[in-house]
């Protein structure tokens, strides 16, 4: 990973304080899988059914969110995890700042990867969505479009969406001519259809995609003129906010389906504006969606004043006193908190020690909500900056 890449996620966390600057993005958000395996997270946690069963499946909805949302979850169940470590006689892993950054980015990205499809659903969807009016499977169906057996084996559902998108205007033309209903896609629809088509295709080579590269996606977002419509006032933060508002923090194919569903409106608008219909090649659509998707990893700004209260109420101030006179270091010192990842990393690494302390002092584990985490970070960052 390059220095630029290493800095990528860090900058995402800092974005709240860098609103006027471009957001740096990772080039491979899956690098965190190496941490996931090497730090033996996989021993207890499963990802989509793969891995240990002692801990929860981290691809489930409840473990999905921005950096500090994840941090809140990890922190709040740290004592439970520590007990598991002891039961399994495992060393509690410590993480460097980079490792924590990669790990959080990886967990966030799991949702993007989507879920496997259902062949049976796919088959029935082809009929119910009207695809068979134009296309056929083994000669059964319409003749306007190609026989699905002769097309590529689209192992990646997004590849199929990309192919549909690219010939969207032609499809729309046929739909309009035939006075057919524009097929809207929801949820897993396209994944199920792709699963069925993969099975019926007779092609030798499977068309797969690399998981998206958000950094490349940003460039493509401009090159493909997406920003012409989505830019608004022309400030990146506004674009990002706009896209987040329409809740694009979903699996890649759900995002793609949303794009497909507003294809008719887009085409009309683009024709009015004389804008060329953008087409995508190779991995381009995956990259663009990865870019859009990753915008949701950024945390909202917290309140330093409320953070100060959290710091006191949760008992942090009991140990972390100014000048480092308490049990813990002064978090406002030069080596203190200068990024959310740093804060999460330090909290994780000293959770074992803290657990012992609250136990021996008959105290409760200080639970932190996402909002409290944001506020706490805002306070600690300000203290550090001072």
């Amino acid at each position: 990973m390059t220095i630029r890449e290493i800095g990528a996620l860090l900058t995402i966390f800092l974005a709240g304080n860098l609103q006027s600057q471009d957001l740096d993005l990772p080039t491979d958000p899956l690098d965190g899988r190496i941490v996931f395996e090497e730090k033996k997270c996989i021993t207890c946690h499963t990802v989509g059914g793969y891995g240990g069963t002692a801990g929860p499946d981290l691809s489930r909805d409840q473990y999905f969110g921005s950096g500090l949302e994840l941090a809140s979850i990890i922190w709040n169940h740290a004592p439970e995890m520590n007990r598991k470590f002891r039961q399994l006689r495992m060393d509690r892993p410590t993480l460097t700042e980079k490792e924590m950054r990669d790990l959080l980015g990886f967990l966030y990205y799991l949702r993007y990867l989507g879920e496997p499809g259902s062949v049976a659903n796919g088959k029935s969807l082809l009929s119910s969505k009207g695809c068979m009016n134009c296309h056929s499977v083994g000669g059964q169906g319409g003749t306007t479009g190609p026989d699905f057996r002769s097309i590529q084996r689209y192992s990646a559902p997004l590849y199929l969406v990309q192919a549909m998108w690219n010939h969207g205007p032609a499809m729309l033309d046929q739909i309009n001519k035939g006075k057919m209903k524009y097929p809207l896609l929801t949820g897993q629809n396209i994944v199920d259809i792709a699963s069925y088509l993969r099975q019926v295709s007779t092609a030798d080579v499977e068309a797969r995609l690399s998981v998206g590269n958000p950094e490349k996606g940003r460039t493509l977002f401009e090159q493909k003129h997406c920003s012409t419509c989505h830019v608004g006032e022309g400030k990146r933060k506004r674009i990002e906010a706009g896209l987040i508002k329409i809740d694009l923090k979903k699996g890649v194919t759900e995002v793609a389906s949303a794009m497909w569903n507003h294809g008719q409106a887009m085409l009309d608008f683009m024709q009015q504006q004389s804008i060329e219909w953008p087409t995508f090649e190779r991995n381009e659509m995956a990259d663009v969606i990865a870019y859009i998707y990753f915008l949701g990893f950024e945390d909202k700004d917290g309140s330093p004043s409320r953070g100060k209260e959290v710091f006191r109420e949760k008992g942090c101030s009991g140990c972390h006193t100014p000048g480092g006179k308490g049990k813990g270091p002064d978090l406002g010192s030069a080596e203190g908190i200068d990024s959310p990842v740093k804060m999460i990393q330090l909290m994780w690494n000293h959770a074992g020690e803290m657990e012992d302390m609250v136990l021996t002092q008959n105290k409760r584990w200080p639970l932190l909500s996402t909002i409290e985490m944001r506020d706490l970070y805002a306070f600690l960052r300000r203290s550090h900056t001072k």
């Binding site: 990867l113 499977e206 991995n283």
Partner: protein, 816 residues
């Protein structure tokens, strides 16, 4: 420049542990400029990944270089075959690079064989000599008189040689050490010639019939890595073997057995499973053929596997045959039946005898009884790597005529009718003159004059060939017979691929690439062939459009890139993760182009795909019945075909003749069912001779390396010499004491070795390790120890064509 190991250490202080071992100060040869660089260079350290080329096991290697000079090796931790592990031979691969006796350029023999009289010639002269002769043969309409004897070359090299031979017009490309013969028993039962991979990681019980997989298997380091999880997985290992091998030592139970009786014991266990209904009834009834008695289309009744086993292989009978107590058979049979998953493996002990095919069939039948196919903890078959397909034909009329000639190494109906090649057939045909002559023979890798039971015949046959061209980098007993040696690069100087090592449980391609520029005036054997093709010209030259062998490898890998499957090996790319992504249609890498993929592939050392294509159960066994066949139609059809011959109709008499030719003593339906065939041992010889290979020697290559000689018998303190293992009872019978010289005498010859008395071997059986007894192969190999091939009878399993390495009986006595 030749320097001592001590000087090498001074030059490159702090090099690998492997180089530091040992008490001797062997000679290391390296170019003068390297010594200069080592003395004055900035000592910049780099690491590069490649694949070990010292044996076919395909381990990933990480090479440490100082100022570009290789100074140390370790296992590549991310390469899935060996996951950072290496055998002693791999750890000493630098010694083979720096071997002082490496051939430093093309040479021509000027004296008699083994006189060691050679002169250096230029590459141009060498290639002209060979290409002129090749052109002459094509002009004479005799391209088929060229033969190529390969060894264990990988898929891409095989494709290159085959393309050359096809374009030239010869049907005579053979691989001396091909594992295809090992697959014949599996083909009879399961319909395809794929050696199974064994999921010992997930099995709860592993029963091995003579498979010393930790030391002698297709990839010992791979299986050692799997075995290393046995404690956490609570897997129980049972090793059935005449000698307590390394695998037996590490097993939970060792069951000694008489050589040549593995099949009988497997059927004894089948008896327990069937009798006590502990087999997988659903699998057997739905997915197998020939289990129950049946009537065929003509109404003739056939005995099924079940009744054949129940009638013939009850424990007391099996005890008589095998020497394994009936109580042990009963206990193991029940354990096999009630433990899930329980896995059964065959191996060298089973295959290396005259009855090897039927014994391996019997062992594999247990997996069918347990319903083990494509199950967790069972057996499975891996897919081929998706290399770019290469089916272009470049054949002119001369080539087409040549290719119509019969292959000189392919056995006929009377001998080894199921095999593509036999070194025995090859040698006998040349010696007898019953076939056309071989005018030019290329030899690449392998050493049949040293490591085959008919080595004398092979040597005589080589003497009859007017032009023998060796492509080896170090002279050995076989290449001593060559007229020309066109030396190949060392594997650390060359491009190549090592893919799908047999019995490794996933599709994989390892990439060898040069760690250093060639130290000497050597040439990649693939480039030698390409250059010869160009000199021959015409359609032969046209067959090689690519500039070099490196490009051949690169072109083949484009198919892998385009397939989108699998992943380049790297950290955090485990099976589960790849499967997770593939299920969702993703591939793991991000590559803007093939060049980017290729650069990363070479840097990391390889590619793998642990996800197998889904195979429906009804398509798993491409046999005539579409099922696992206890009763092998394939075997029956072939024997009927042979029996018909020119005589139209496979009468019982004709079949009887074929059974006799193939040394099959069973009759009736039993012939086509897994059964025990007695081995035709010499009745007047009292002691069984068995052999084994140690990790440091493998097929004898290790003998050229001094450190491997030091390690040869490290566990029993035997170095640089051969030993003979025997049970204390055997030793007492023949008045032999520990360390005494022993004469081992067969009807073929005699050898001398020191006694090692051990409880770890059956009484009346002796075991001698392969590897030593060289008369060539460099200064460290020559003149040490004894070669057990020298006293082995030239016997074979007539079905698989494999040498019957465990079929000789001997007399032993204390040497004076």
């Amino acid at each position: 420049m030749e320097i001592t190991r001590r000087d090498f250490l001074k030059l490159f202080g702090g090099i690998s542990g492997a180089v530091l071992l040992g008490n001797m100060d062997e000679v290391i040869s390296l170019p003068d400029s390297w010594v200069e660089k080592a003395q004055h260079g900035p000592r910049i350290e780099t690491w590069h990944n490649t694949i070990c080329g010292l044996c076919p096991s395909g381990c990933g290697l990480r090479v440490r270089l100082l100022d570009g000079i290789p100074v140390g090796v370790k296992g590549n931790p991310v390469y899935p075959v060996n996951k950072g592990g290496l055998c002693p031979l791999g750890l000493n691969s630098l010694h083979s690079l720096y071997h002082p006796d490496r051939i430093k350029g093309p040479i021509k023999r000027t004296g008699a064989i083994a006189e060691d009289k050679w002169v250096s010639i230029s590459w141009d002269e060498a290639l002209k000599t060979v290409s002129d002769r090749l052109i002459e043969l094509r002009n004479q309409g005799a391209p088929h008189q060229v033969a190529f004897l390969g060894h264990t070359e990988g898929t891409i090299m095989q494709r290159l040689i085959r393309r050359f031979m096809d374009a030239f017009g010869s049907p005579n490309y053979f691989q001396y050490a091909s594992s295809k013969n090992d697959a014949i028993p599996y083909a009879f039962l399961q319909g395809h010639s794929t050696i199974p991979a064994y999921d010992i990681l997930n099995a709860r019980l592993v029963v091995s019939f003579g498979s010393n997989f930790l030391e002698e298997g297709y990839s010992p380091v791979y299986y050692t890595k799997l075995y290393s999880h046995h404690d956490e997985q609570q897997t129980r290992y049972v090793q059935i073997e005449s000698r307590m091998s390394l695998t037996a030592v590490n097993a939970d139970q060792w069951i000694p057995i008489r050589p040549g009786t593995y099949g009988a014991l497997a059927l004894g266990l089948a008896y327990i499973l069937i009798r006590e209904e502990l087999y997988d009834i659903d699998f057997v009834h739905q997915r197998t053929f020939g289990f129950e008695d049946r009537k065929d289309g003509s109404g003739a009744r056939h005995v099924g596997f079940k009744n054949m086993v129940l009638g013939n292989y009850y424990p007391e009978k099996v005890e008589e045959i095998t020497g394994v107590p009936s109580a042990t058979i009963l206990k193991l049979g029940r354990e096999l039946g009630i433990t899930r998953p329980a896995l059964v493996m065959g191996g060298q002990g089973t295959l290396d005898n005259t009855n090897g095919t039927f014994a391996a069939m019997a062992v594999h039948s247990l997996n069918a009884l347990l319903g083990n196919f494509e199950r967790k903890g069972g057996v499975f078959f891996v897919d081929d790597p998706p290399f770019t397909k290469s089916d272009l034909k470049f054949q002119d009329s001369v080539a087409r005529d040549g290719l119509r000639q019969p292959s000189i190494g392919r056995p006929d109906a009377r001998t080894f009718p199921f095999t593509q090649f036999s070194i025995d057939t090859f040698a006998k045909r040349i010696l007898s003159g019953t076939s056309y002559p071989i005018s030019v023979l290329f030899i690449s890798g392998g050493n049949p004059v040293f490591e085959s039971p008919n080595s004398r015949e092979v040597a005589e046959a080589l003497k009859k060939i007017p032009l023998v061209v060796s492509l080896d980098g170090l002279l050995n007993e076989t290449s001593e017979h060559a007229h020309l040696v066109l030396p190949d690069h060392h594997f650390m100087e060359r491009w190549d691929e090592v893919s799908n090592v047999d019995s490794v449980g996933f599709t994989h391609v390892g990439i060898q690439h040069p760690m250093v520029s060639p130290m000497y005036d050597t040439k990649h054997c693939g480039d030698t062939i390409i250059e010869l093709a160009r000199r021959i010209g015409g359609s032969v030259g046209q067959a090689f459009a690519v500039a070099s062998y490196e490009n051949e490898v690169k072109e083949a890998m484009k198919g892998v890139y385009q397939s989108g499957r699998g992943a380049i090996v790297s950290e955090g790319v485990g099976t589960m993760w790849i499967e997770y992504l593939q299920q969702r249609g993703w591939q793991i890498g991000q590559y803007a182009s093939f060049e980017e993929f290729w650069d990363r592939l070479v840097k990391q050392g390889g590619w793998w795909n642990p996800i197998r294509k889904k195979v429906r159960m009804d398509q798993m066994f491409p046999t005539p019945s579409g099922k696992f066949e206890f009763y092998s139609h394939k075997l029956e059809e072939k024997i009927n075909f042979l029996a018909k011959g020119a005589e139209n109709g496979a009468s019982p008499q004709h079949r009887e003749r074929i059974f006799n030719q193939l040394h099959i003593s069973a009759r009736g339906d039993n012939v086509f069912l897994p059964h025990h065939e007695p081995v035709p041992y010499d009745v007047d010889m009292p002691v069984h001779l068995t052999t084994f290979r140690v990790l440091s020697m493998r097929d004898g290559q290790g003998a050229s390396l001094p450190m491997m000689q030091e390690m040869f018998g490290h566990s029993i303190h035997r170095h640089w010499e051969t030993w003979v293992e025997m049970h204390p009872e055997t030793a007492a019978t023949y008045h032999i004491t520990e360390g005494a010289w022993v004469l081992v005498q067969s009807t073929v010859g005699t050898l001398r070795a020191r006694a090692k008395i051990s409880q770890g071997i059956m009484p009346n059986v002796i075991a001698i390790p392969f590897g030593l007894g060289h008369s060539s192969m460099g200064r460290y190999a020559k003149g040490h120890g004894a070669n057990p091939y020298a006293i082995m009878k030239n016997m074979y399993d007539m079905l698989s064509g494999k040498p019957a390495l465990q079929a000789t009986k001997v007399m032993i006595s204390r040497a004076m």
